[in-house]
Amino acid sequence: MASNSSSDRQRIAQQRLRIIAGHLRAPVDSDSTILAAECKAQGSKTDVSSERKTVPRRRQEILKWNGWGYSDTRFLFNKKGQAEFTGKRYRLSGMIIPALQNWFEGTFGASVQHKSPAMPILTSSAVQPPTLNEAFVDELKSTGIPCSHDAEDRVFRGHGHCLHEVFALREGKVGRVPDIVVWPNCHNDVVKIVELACKHNVCLIPYGGGTSVSSALECPPEETRCIVSLDTSQMNRILWIDEKNLTAHVEAGIVGQELERLLNESGYCTGHEPDSMEFSSLGGWVATRASGMKKNIYGNIEDLVVHVKMVTPQGVIEKGCQCPRMSTGPDIHHFIMGSEGTLGVVTEVTMKIRPMPEYQKYGSVVFPNFEQGVACLREVAKQRCAPASIRLMDNEQFKFGHALKPQVSSIFTSFLDGLKKFYITKFKGFDPDRLCVATLLFEGDREKVLQHEKQVYDIAAKFGGLAAGEDNGQRGYMLTFVIAYLRDLGMDYYVIGESFETSVPWDRVLDICRNVKARIIQECKDKGVQFSPLSTCRVTQTYDAGACVYFYFAFNYRGLSDPVHVYEQVEHAAREEILANGGSLSHHHGVGKLRKEWMRETISDVGMGMLKSVKNYVDPKNIFGNRNLI
């Protein structure tokens, strides 16, 4: 891979990109009108220019202040009642989704006639005036590091994307938010800010992409000091790429899509693709122990990180070399990874990179039931031949995915769809209310991909699986990227929901899926939810010893006086059920403040003591005072 001349490299990279771009463009004769890879904002893979696209300091210029994602992009039901996806950023953008309304009304007992609109703009009177530590602000200003105590800037950094956070914003309610936002431009800026914070005893809360779903960004209401939000978004450069060792040294504020785009320009990728990668940052991944969709090839964040630099109140922590593995006591990276902003700010990371794959292929397999599907995934994991991504959606989610099919342009396509459906349900005898689908993504060189594909399909066949085409696979992955936009649509019509995840040993997978889904339904009923909720799951990652399971649940809250409270009670019960069934507190979302109460039973008293003593040494004055984790 390493080429001596940089123009050579450029040429090879350009060529490869053209090939990939070719694959990603929908073939003319294909019935597919969407491509999952392009569910991320466009302009990433096909745009080879090296112009930097950063997240602006004023995030509100391009992002919603009270919902998910870009301001120009949202789902809506048009005058005819048909669902539409606005904007131009995604492949689905500008399309009509004819089946969504029926699915939506049927699943939730909701109606497009009954709207529950959000407050259109933030009234700054709803935001408490900032408590500023004047001495700190003065000294900060003298360093020249940009900062702001504008209400909008502050509100934007006072929340993540938990349901209760977004719900409150939609109602125009704002609780405790940071008093001031600072935008360091580099590692040294961060060192200065942390020094000043220590000197003046202010509270620092690091902010990356703001995609937290663990209440990690919520300002502790009991915090009386000035709260400073340290926004890393302007630290977004790739500092160097080392092709000999296949590593890249990157500033931690870079967001996933930007990192991939920039690396792709040099013909590389990290392969780390968490579902939030459009917005989430490298530093956030490290701080929460993130996991990417394609971890089967590239690994999770802990496998990808070679070196980390973190600024703490005690100084900068980093290793003295960039070695692949060391036997030097407990790995200090593991104090940093998952520390959730309680110990310091991650500023720079050396990450493994890989040459971009030559070929990508989606696929899907339909199973007669979820049990068979899980058995197949287990076998794939046992044989250690999992593709880049393999996910198994349950029946409800399969139907959900189908409801998101955009309007088909040709009669031929709909005829083919009908035929496929007939073959699977009538000819093969699959029960449409039990069947489920696994979505696959293969990556690598073409020949190996095809070989790999055959191996996986052969295993699937042993469990009654039928290959169901690339289209189904792509739509499955698309769901991941649009689900958060869909939640906003639901909230416009009295439907609230959330997703949460866990990891669990193989022998428990079926039990946990069944029990947690049933628990959600039961709790909703007990709490007075009128219409049975959507309660669905998918197995999203496979490991040697277990799997990662993702749950979605959503319900129609008409008739409830305090829907968020009901929602929180149900989510709480669901987490209890997960733990009682041998599941983990979190696979990759982290603990934040939302799941803190279960930490002790998760890691034992001694474990808690260990974490606390680290915190006490590194940050005795609780400068990093977001109160996550412990």
């Binding site: 022998d507 039990d511 946990i512 029990n515 049933a518 628990r519 069934n581 041998g582």
Partner: protein, 609 residues
């Protein structure tokens, strides 16, 4: 006809429907051949009896135990597998609709001649239907008669409810033909004791769990383990309850619905049989020919049966806050482990609650009270040398009197027990005859004991306490309750609750008054308290006699086997000498319970070897 049962607290109860009424008016054959389409568990995986067996044999649990046994004994795993397969063959049910239809026909005929009516609460059936669809169901009927499980299946067939598989004792297997018939109607057979036999235990528990988890059929067993010979509920056995709760605790099913069923017989088929058994006249081994000899039973009138299907109890809600299900997280679930302390006590508590639920839904006939009074009068008369009886009042009572004419006689318009007053004059041949009558009569009184036991213990406690200080009374109550906890269903750890309930009831009836410190018996309360404590008097005396026996006669060499005959001889001597009033003390049930209580309290010790 519809009758309504009311409990003492006047809670609303379901209506009963007589299912025999229709049988008397329409063809039994048509009924036996009618279309039977029960609703099933929503998550049911269709499978046959033989598939069940192979699922059990291929389970992780069994693999593990087979390997373990192989390592311990040195036997080849294949041999053990064969052995396992044979055990399963002996155990397994093979439910067949044709057999059920055969029973539906023959039982219709038999029930119509034996019973006046079989009354079922239809609301309970509806709740059961619902429960079956939602979660795996366990049926827990009370056990007073061999009839019970045939009756259960008969009723479920009648109402188009899924037929259960039933845990039955191995002794049925002795009856060649009948055993197979029962197997085909859903019975599976368990050896009475298989102490340390790991393989057997694994097979048995896995078999039951597999049927339950797959929703193959509701699983039915008797919490009391065996038929109660005394009409009192027996201390629950925990083995099977442990097994059926296990899939929930380990997260293998979302929930299990447990449905207590109360079967109240106006007159049990085995009435005199039980009395004889308790008196030590050995029980005939179950045999086919024995069953046919029992045909003479068919010519008698056994009144009506009330079957009450209780509220389904969710094991999930029972376990809420009592069991930490995370305890199964660190060891693979197929490796057998002793239940942890919290689970053991949870299962035990639940078992008591469920037996209590059975008791509470029993239907008591007026005769039960008549029997209680007759027994009391009988013993008081005996002391006073009088002949007192109960005035014949209502039709209801007289109807029960015809049913129980073997036990009572009417003398000068007064009802009395059909026995002479002075037992010391009995010839020894008549002695047992009289004892049978008294014990039978006591068994009817026993049906009402669960209603009275808590206030009666309080009455007794007030009587025996050294002062009427509340604390003193409570201590004395607590002692008596503890003493009698093998005799009556008293939930473990519920002493305070029981005490409060008893106080509440006696204050409500105006028998007691409470001051800050003291418990006072009111003027009219004396009679109530006397009635109540007399109710328990035979038990108190019985326990005292057992203690006396142990003090006076027992030697170091007394074995468990010798205990009953020896104590019986001792009691008979006292009775004949006129030094003991209650013949029912002869009941081996009481003697065993008192020995168990003394063992539990550490007054007696068991020595091995």
């Amino acid at each position: 006809g519809k009758t309504r049962a009311l409990d003492p607290m006047l809670k609303k109860r379901d209506d009963f429907e007589d299912i025999l009424e229709e049988r008397r008016n329409s063809s039994d054959l048509k009924y036996a051949l009618r279309c039977y389409t029960p609703v099933l568990y929503k998550g049911v995986t269709p499978c046959t009896s033989s598939m069940l067996k192979s699922m059990v044999l291929q389970s992780d649990q069994l693999h593990y135990v087979i390997n373990q046994v192989s390592k311990e004994t040195g036997k080849a795993t294949d041999d053990i597998k064969e052995e396992a397969s044979a055990i399963l063959e002996e155990m397994a049910q093979c439910l067949q609709l044709s057999t059920v239809r055969f029973f539906a026909f023959t039982l219709s005929k038999a029930f119509k001649t034996l019973f006046r009516s079989i009354c079922v609460n239809e609301d309970g059936i509806q709740r059961l239907q619902q429960a079956i669809q939602e979660h795996p169901v366990v049926l827990l009927p009370s056990h007073r008669s061999y009839m019970d499980f045939l009756l259960m299946s008969y009723i479920l067939y009648t109402y188009d409810v899924a037929l259960p598989v039933i845990a039955a004792g191995m002794d049925f297997m002795g009856m060649k033909f009948v055993g197979e018939m029962l197997r085909m109607s859903g019975a599976f057979f368990i050896r009475r004791s298989f102490g340390g036999d790991k393989l057997y235990w694994a097979l048995f528990s896995e078999y039951v769990k597999t049927m339950l988890k797959n929703g193959f059929a509701p699983v039915e067993f008797f919490l009391e383990g065996t038929r109660s010979r005394t009409s009192k509920s027996l201390t629950p056995k925990l083995g099977l309850l442990n097994i059926v709760m296990d899939p929930f605790l380990k997260g293998e099913v979302f929930d299990v619905n447990v449905v207590p069923v109360s079967i109240s017989y106006e007159r049990v088929l085995e009435e005199t049989l039980y009395a004889r058994e308790l008196l030590g006249i050995p029980k005939p081994k179950e045999s086919t020919s024995g069953l046919f000899k029992a045909r003479k039973i068919l010519s008698e009138d056994y009144g009506s049966i009330h079957v009450y299907f209780g509220q389904p109890v969710s094991v999930r809600s029972l376990a809420q806050g009592k069991v930490n299900r995370c305890q199964f997280n660190l060891v693979p679930r197929h490796i057998p482990r002793r239940p942890s302390e919290d689970i053991a006590s949870f299962v035990n508590d639940s078992a008591y609650r469920l037996v209590r639920a059975q008791e509470e839904n029993m239907v008591l006939k007026p005769w039960v009270l008549v029997a209680s009074l007759l027994l009391q009068y009988h013993h008081q008369n005996q002391a006073a040398g009088q002949k007192r009886g109960i005035a014949l009042v209502t039709q209801v009572v007289s109807s029960s009197l015809t049913l129980h004419r073997g036990l009572v006689r009417i003398c000068e318009d007064k009802v009395q027990l059909a026995v002479e007053q002075d037992i010391t004059t009995y010839l020894s041949t008549v002695f047992y005859y009289i004892a049978v009558i008294l014990l039978s009569c006591a068994s009817y009184r026993n049906q009402a004991l669960h209603v009275f036991v808590r206030p009666a213990l309080l009455a007794l406690a007030i009587h025996t306490a050294s002062s009427n200080q509340k604390q003193e009374v409570f201590n004395s109550f607590s002692f008596l309750r503890n003493m009698f906890s093998n005799e009556f269903i008293l939930c473990p750890g519920a002493t305070v609750q029981d005490f409060e309930e008893a106080c509440y009831l006696l204050v409500k009836t105006g028998a007691l008054q409470f001051t800050q410190q003291e418990v006072l018996v009111t003027e009219r309360g004396h009679r109530t308290l006397a009635f109540l404590s007399t109710m328990l008097d035979p038990f108190l005396q019985g326990y005292q006699v057992v203690c006396r026996f142990l003090c006076e006669e027992a030697t170091e060499t007394l074995t468990e086997k010798q205990f009953i005959p020896a104590v019986r001889k001792f009691i008979k001597k006292l009775l004949l000498a006129g030094r003991l009033r209650y013949m029912e003390v002869l009941s081996s049930d009481l003697q065993k319970n008192s020995l168990a209580a003394l063992l539990r309290l550490g007054a007696v010790r068991k020595m091995k070897g």
